[in-house]
Symmetry: C2
Subunit: 80 residues, 2 copies
């Protein structure tokens, strides 16, 4: 079972990496680009045969304790 | 128009960040976790009214020239 976790800074939290990309794209001549934000994506290979809801609950615990900083980041879990 | 670009190291390219997360999850007592890989996700706000195919071609150029390292990274573009 494959789990994808997308972690982005919350709206309103300053994202210097995104801003740097935004400026670099402008400098390279790309037009029509508005706000750019950068986050991280983590893919986990989980043991097959586990209950999907159980896996979801486990990945939420992983996010809260290690993968994300819940104070400033939002996470989105997708299980395939 | 919102564009999401997911950038991951190609299969076979060593991913030390992913390995570090894998070990940390094991150390925290999470079981049944196989391979972990970490990548980045970039969201771009593009001007509305642009042609979708044109936007896609433009984002491919952004990936090749700035966002990704096409030698070791794969990218996946999603336009909403």
């Amino acid at each position: 079972m494959k789990v994808t976790v997308k972690i982005m800074l919350k709206n309103g939290v300053l994202d210097p990496q995104g801003k740097a990309i935004e400026h670099a794209l402008g400098g390279l001549g790309f037009e029509g680009v508005g706000e750019v934000r950068q986050g991280k994506v983590i893919t986990l290979e989980m043991e097959d045969g586990m209950d999907k809801e159980e896996v979801h609950a486990q990945v939420v615990r992983m996010c809260e304790s290690l993968l994300a900083n819940p104070v400033i980041e939002d996470y989105d879990i997708e299980i395939i």
